[in-house]
């Protein structure tokens, strides 16, 4: 039955891809039917994964074999089912949202193609997760990368999109390269491409394989310093696609990392330290970069880097605590990481979808040109607020529920016997706390600048509430944020995890009771409330020019963290008179050093370019020289093969 549901879901996706390009183009009915099929397929997958999660049944089946070694086979266990559940639930909500959102963008033909690519994209993500061997895994991984590249390039006329596409293409191939390397190295020692235990590897070999996989998966997941493609690609893609990419696609990389750590290799202590350090750096830098960002979608993209950092921190803690056999803490960290994966998928796709509605209504991504939307788009604002509170880890929402698991794990760090590791853990804890508080500051800024106060542009003033489909999709996810948060303790108990965690339900009940009592007590005075201009320092009427801007809001934090931003402020003034008393005009500029771009990416690119130009010079020769090259290559290959066999 599970096999049937799983394959049925896949068939629905393939059918969706086909119908969206063949259906009637004029009224877009084919497109809508295709999105309906996507929803149906996602529901089938949800059903299948729930059955597997409940039964704890493993299922392996093979559907195609090229050779006995290279075939496409699927293996569904609880871990795979959990990630399939994440992918398909988010995909279903995104499909509902896309029903209307897609009509905002591009030409008819392009919309059809985008729905088709979206179905392929969702299908490939599920198949990556379900793959039983690296042949299928990397094949579907590439399919996932290319279909998403196609979707990122939706607005291909824009220079910005082209840049994002190139970045994305290069980085995604870079990631595949390292995955391929890892898989081949594994094959060299185990003799098969199966994703199965390779516990017998010697330490150094396993370490090298882990590094290869870490770079491969880390690039896709957006771990700093491999993150550069992420803000570009997420901002350039249409919002329903950003929701899928940020909510789900980068989670597929996390799935790979967990699978390799958990099932294939047996982790060593330094892997945990490496994961913890990279995770903490990604989490803190991700949110600090987000604070500076005024492009709504880029801001959310930087928060994805932050949240991936949190998940990687959880994995690192799991490795470290497992090494010292502190099983409760190890469980807390691993399940914290997994739970946060689910939660991030939920609130990040919610935020990207509502951001998409806002961008569609205001025709700008710059939050400095928004404002006041809470009055014109109240439902979108409420949904965005729930998402913001969840991502800022505020109780009683789901973001808190998973972050508190990691906090609890951290607070148990004193049980670690090695003082050096314990000090590292406590230092990382301070970074974790900093990240969490900065995220709250960043979302106060984002929500405040986008939705509150007075509109700062004509478009924002005339914005209209999004259509119902664009509210239902994220609305379902907002409900999930609340349910997974308030009942987190009960849910974890129900699936058999007895972990030392706070129960959020009584606290939420008390807060709700106090809230209700306060409302009752003030009901009479609330009814008499007057709306009138409040005091504004003697200014007659308030205009949007007087509001605090997003840049103003984040300015103290940016000043405090100026060593990280490395901003350079320059001011120029011109004067009327020679005494420099009357200013006639002037300009001020703030430059930020793009550390990773200027110090890592560009030098690497220049280096590669130099090698490429050298090689292209070698190419430019006559036939006999080319024949000589071929001869040399054949000799090298024969020698290499002789060495290996």
């Amino acid at each position: 039955m599970i096999e049937g549901l799983f394959l049925g879901g896949g068939a629905a996706m393939v059918l969706a891809a086909l119908t969206s390009v063949t259906g009637s183009r004029e009224r877009g009915s084919g497109r809508r039917f295709a999105l309906g099929l996507v929803m149906a397929g996602a529901l089938a997958w949800i059903a299948a994964s729930i059955v597997i999660l409940a039964d704890d049944s493993d299922l392996t089946f093979r559907i195609y074999s090229l050779t006995p070694q290279l075939g496409i086979a699927f293996h569904l266990d609880r871990l795979a089912a959990f990630f399939i559940l994440i992918v398909s639930s988010v995909a279903a909500c995104v499909a509902i949202y896309s029903l209307k959102y897609i009509e905002h963008t591009g030409s008819q033909a392009r919309r059809d193609m985008s729905v088709a690519a979206m179905s392929v994209f969702i299908l490939s993500m599920v198949l990556v997760v379900a793959s039983a061997n690296f042949f299928g895994f990397i094949f579907f991984w590439e399919l996932m990368s290319l279909s998403s590249l196609f979707l990122v390039m939706f607005d291909r006329e824009k220079a910005e999109t082209v840049k994002a596409g190139i970045y994305y293409l290069v980085m995604t191939q870079f990631s595949t390269l390292f995955l391929l390397l890892g898989a081949l190295l594994l094959h060299r020692y185990t003799g098969s491409f199966d994703i199965a235990s390779a516990g017998g590897l010697t330490l150094s070999t396993a370490g090298i394989i882990f590094i290869a996989f870490f770079i491969g998966f880390g690039t896709k997941a957006g771990i700093i310093p491999f993150h550069k493609w992420l803000p570009f690609a997420h901002a350039a893609a249409p919002s329903n696609i950003s929701a899928l990419m940020s909510g789900v696609m980068i989670k597929v990389a996390i799935y790979g990392l967990i699978r390799v750590l958990l099932d294939v290799l047996s982790p060593d202590l330094w892997w945990g330290t490496l994961l913890l350090v990279f995770g903490t750096v990604s989490a803190v830098l991700g949110v600090i970069y987000a604070l500076k960002e005024h492009d709504l979608k880029k801001l959310l993209a930087f928060h994805s880097i932050e949240n991936i950092g949190i998940i990687v921190i959880g994995l690192g803690l799991w490795v470290i605590f497992s090494h010292y056999s502190l099983n409760t803490l190890a469980d807390l960290s691993l399940f914290g990481a997994l739970f946060h994966t689910l939660n991030h998928a939920i609130f990040k796709s919610l935020l990207f979808m509502t951001a998409g509605s806002v961008v569609a209504a205001t025709h700008t991504r710059n939050i400095e040109e928004m404002g006041g939307l809470v009055k014109t788009m109240p439902v979108t604002a409420a949904i965005f607020l729930i998402g913001s509170a969840a991502i800022s880890a505020l109780p009683p929402l789901n973001g808190f529920a998973s972050e508190v698991m990691l906090f609890q794990a951290y607070l148990g760090a004193f049980q670690v016997p090695s003082p050096l590791t314990a000090v590292l853990l406590f230092t990382a804890l301070a970074g974790f706390a900093l990240m969490s508080a900065l995220a709250a500051a960043c979302f106060v800024k984002a929500f405040g600048a986008v939705f509150l106060a007075l509109p700062r542009s004509r478009e924002a003033e005339h914005a209209r509430e999004a259509p119902r489909a664009m509210l239902v999709g994220p609305g379902i996810l907002a409900a999930a944020c609340i349910i997974l948060g308030v009942f987190s303790y009960q849910i974890l108990r129900a699936i058999g995890l007895d972990l030392p965690l706070p129960n959020v339900l009584p606290v939420s009940l008390i807060a709700a009771a106090v809230f209700w009592l306060a409302v009752l007590a003030l009901r009479r005075s609330e009814a008499k409330a007057r709306v009138s201009e409040t005091w504004g320092c003697g200014i007659h009427t308030q205009t949007s020019k007087m509001e605090y801007t997003a840049s103003g809001f984040s300015e103290p934090i940016i000043t405090i963290f100026s060593p990280i931003f490395r901003t350079r402020k320059t001011g120029k003034r011109e004067f009327f008179d020679k005494d420099k008393a009357i200013v006639s005009g002037g300009s001020g500029e703030v430059h930020t050093l793009q550390f990773f771009e200027e110090r890592i990416y560009l030098p690497t690119a220049l280096f590669v370019k130099r090698i490429a130009s050298f090689i292209s010079r070698l190419h430019n020769v006559d036939l006999d020289a080319n024949v000589m090259y071929v001869f040399a290559v054949v000799v090298v290959i024969l020698l290499a093969v002789g060495q290996l066999l």
Partner: protein, 312 residues
């Protein structure tokens, strides 16, 4: 058991709410004395709240439901947090007061207060929100590190359990708690918006942070905001007091122990308010961008605790 819990919830919450305005006024009084003034009468806090509750509510035309909702959410989350800090007696249920949940409930209240500050679109509100969130972001690592140090020393993350440990032991048993107390004190100064971080007395754009955020609130809504600030101060004080000096805290729910507990807590709050008042009078307000180094002091103390404990 259930009855005991409900009794605890009611007593603790009501007592915290009841004593908060007194503590606020006490600090004002102490500050006035150090400056050679007489200061307000001790019940002034209650008069102020009573007066505000009778006044009408005025909303700015630019404001939205956030402004209307924030005071309720603020008091709701802070009272939920207050449940976790036993003041009248130690409840017998376990797992009621996770310290991380406690801290994050206060962050939630702050989050909505900062949003309300931005809501009316006035420059003051925005400035207050911006500064509050910036300071809160920088103090958070300090807070969590001191909490980690506490959890390390007392081997628990549950606040009532921590209190039980210190109640049954003594400070001599846990000497590093004195170091943690220093950093907790700084955290309390920051969180309750006191000099040298913030100046609760003025409405001057150069100094105010917290006051700027609630500048647009009026009448009963302002009273709720003031009350929640008082509750926040009381529970943070109670956290520090009952860890360093838990004498008198009742360990069971009898009438006499509860009365003793309430009286002793009132006395301890009085002492603590004097300490805070004197501390405030001795300090000048620090420039906003100099504050991180002040916080580093607290971080140092909590980290020193952790290192000492690790080496011990």
């Amino acid at each position: 058991m259930i009855l005991n819990t409900v009794l605890y919830l009611l007593l603790n919450t009501i007592f915290v709410v009841a004593i908060s305005p007194l503590a606020m006024t006490l600090i004002k009084k102490v500050k006035a004395y150090t400056q050679g003034r007489v200061g307000p009468p001790l019940l002034q806090g209650y008069y102020n709240l009573f007066k505000l509750f009778k006044k009408e509510i005025v909303y700015s035309p630019n404001s939205s439901f956030i402004m209307r909702l924030a005071p309720y959410l603020n008091i709701g989350f802070l009272l939920a947090a207050s449940v976790m800090v036993p003041v009248v007696f130690l409840p017998q249920v376990s797992g009621i007061g996770n310290i991380i949940l406690f801290l994050y409930l206060m962050v939630t209240a702050k989050f909505f207060m900062a949003l309300a500050g931005l809501d009316a679109g006035s420059t003051f509100g925005g400035m207050g929100s911006s500064r509050e969130m910036s300071l809160s972001a920088i103090i958070e690592p300090v807070t969590i590190t001191s909490v980690a140090a506490l959890a390390f020393v007392l081997k628990s993350t549950d606040i009532p359990e921590m209190f039980a440990t210190t109640l049954n032991g003594s400070l001599a048993q846990y000497p590093t708690l004195i170091l943690v107390a220093f950093s907790l004190f700084i955290v309390i100064i920051v969180e309750t918006a006191r000099v040298p971080v913030d100046n609760p007395e003025t409405h001057l754009e150069l100094t105010m942070i917290h006051e700027a955020m609630i500048l647009e609130q009026t009448g009963p809504k302002l009273a709720l905001m003031e009350l929640s600030q008082g509750v926040k101060q009381t529970i943070l004080m109670a956290l520090l007091i009952n860890i360093v000096w838990p004498v008198g805290l009742a360990s069971n729910a009898g009438i006499v122990p509860i009365a003793v507990s309430m009286a002793s807590f009132a006395a301890k709050v009085l002492t603590f308010s004097i300490v805070v008042g004197v501390f405030e009078s001795m300090m000048a307000k620090i420039r906003l961008f100099r504050l991180p180094s002040f916080f580093m002091l607290a971080l140092f103390f909590s980290f020193a605790t952790i290192v000492f404990e690790l080496l011990a």
